[in-house]
């Protein structure tokens, strides 16, 4: 239940007094609360937990980290 799952925000709407979003989890759409990420926009990736979006994933950071890990991985192979 602590298992946050990444999803992509499709649209944001108001449900009575609560800010909600439709979020795509690899083909499955769910309604989640986005009150905690007021700066979110459709297209943003987020981690969802217990029906709440906890953050906005930084895609540039994600790709940069991957590139660094790729480089480390290649170096390790060369040294083998």
């Amino acid at each position: 239940m602590c298992l946050g799952i990444p999803g992509k925000i499709l649209s944001i709407y108001e449900d009575q007094t609560t800010r909600m979003a439709k979020v795509d989890f690899g083909g499955v759409t769910r309604e989640v609360c986005v009150e905690l990420i007021p700066e979110a926009n459709p297209g943003d990736w987020t981690i969802i937990h217990a029906g709440f979006a906890l953050n906005i994933l930084d895609e540039d950071e994600a790709l940069e980290t991957l590139a660094i890990l790729q480089e480390m991985s290649n170096l390790a192979e060369l040294e083998e």
Binding site: G4, I47, H49, L54, N55, E77
Partner: protein
């Protein structure tokens, strides 16, 4: 905004077996002696077992599984209170699904439901508020367990219920906090943990500003770590690098999801609704300031008070070693009941129930005879 193709690349990338092997190779080159590292979060324990990462690691690394399983550490007293409340007439008890099979002193929420009690599983605490709104003639209670990841959702349920003027909604406050537990583990005379993988999603909410004093006080490296195979390997490598270099800093190996400050809106919400209280952890004992209790101004939403349920006698199983497993002192397979008297279908202890429990992970992924 980035294109779809690039987006799916970044998610897939963190499960890339070739990259994981590369990091493992780095680890082999870097490590010179044995190290014991604790992953606090049970979600990470499961990911490690699921992807077989424990079997790829150099033999010098021992992963000690932490108490980061909310279902597992929820004290028997609160479970028995939930069972008692669920049996009261005119009550609907709502809970996350994991909680239903957790054994109380005598039985579990499933058996209360079988007896005719109204127990409903919800995905989000807001669903519990909705049930209260739709059933004005019933008392609806939400069993508010979880760590800092769930605390904002639980807090929002109370705020929302207050905003729409619901008087038939209350929560059984059972939230717990990670940093006080780290103090307890590190301060124990039995402690053998040399490095910590901090739970990435707890840090997504709370940031990691609470950790530098812990790293300094106990001279221990702490690395904020995510949940994909590559995240976990990166977290372990970063910890090992600091251990090998004799450093004890706090580093973030989950930068795409976690900032130092964390989610300020979520932290404010938690602080608006809850105050830190001493809380008993099942199998561990009472940890000062490790729980969240409702603020005095919101006491009307506290089920413990509404139902006067606080003084219930409890009786823990005598065979189950869940406490030692949760403290990282024993592995699940050291329990005489593991896989025989205790299985996910018929659990003696909470760690065999939960999707974050170490016993369930060992059972499900076949780590029985190592």
């Amino acid at each position: 905004m980035v294109s779809d193709k690039k987006s799916s690349d970044f998610l897939k990338g963190y499960r890339d077996a070739k990259l994981v092997k590369g990091i493992v190779e780095n680890l082999h080159q870097r490590i010179t002696r044995p190290w014991s590292i604790m992953e606090i979060c049970g979600g990470q324990t499961h990911a490690i077992m699921q992807y077989g990462l424990d079997q790829l690691l150099p033999k010098e690394i021992e992963l000690i599984h932490g108490p980061g399983c909310p279902v597992c550490v929820t004290p028997l007293e609160l479970i028995d209170q939930a069972l008692w409340i669920a049996r009261q007439p005119n009550v609907i008890l709502t809970s996350f699904g994991d909680m239903l099979r957790v054994p109380g002193s005598k039985n579990d929420l499933f058996s209360v439901r079988a007896e005719g009690g109204q127990v409903q599983v919800v995905y989000s605490p807001l669903d519990a508020v909705k049930i209260a709104k739709e059933n004005p003639d019933k008392e609806v209670v939400f069993f508010a367990i979880g760590f800092e990841t769930t605390a904002p959702a639980n807090a929002m349920a109370v705020v929302h219920a207050k905003k729409i003027g619901l008087e038939n909604f209350s929560i059984l406050p059972a939230n717990v906090l990670v940093p006080p537990a780290m103090h307890t583990i590190l301060g124990s005379p039995n402690n053998r943990i040399q490095g910590f993988l901090a739970a990435g999603h707890v840090c997504a909410v709370m940031g990691y500003w609470e950790y530098p004093p812990i790293a300094k006080q106990y001279q221990i490296p702490i690395v904020v770590t995510g949940f994909e195979p590559l995240d976990l390997m990166q977290g372990i490598l970063t910890t090992v690098e600091m251990l090998e270099d004799g450093k004890f800093d706090v580093k973030n190996a989950y930068q795409r999801a976690v900032t130092f400050e964390g989610n300020k809106a979520a932290q404010k919400l938690i602080n608006d609704v809850f105050d830190p209280v001493d809380r008993k952890w099942r199998g561990i004992g009472t940890i000062p300031h490790s729980g969240l209790g409702l603020k005095n101004s919101l006491i009307n939403f506290d089920a413990t008070i509404k139902f006067n349920s606080a003084n219930i006698q409890t009786q823990e199983s005598t065979i189950c070693i869940a406490g030692e497993v949760l403290q990282g002192l024993k592995k699940p397979r050291e329990c005489p009941a593991f896989g025989t008297l205790c299985t996910p279908n018929s659990p003696l202890g909470a760690p065999m129930v939960s999707s974050e429990g170490a016993c369930a992970a060992y059972y499900r992924y076949g780590r029985t005879n190592q």
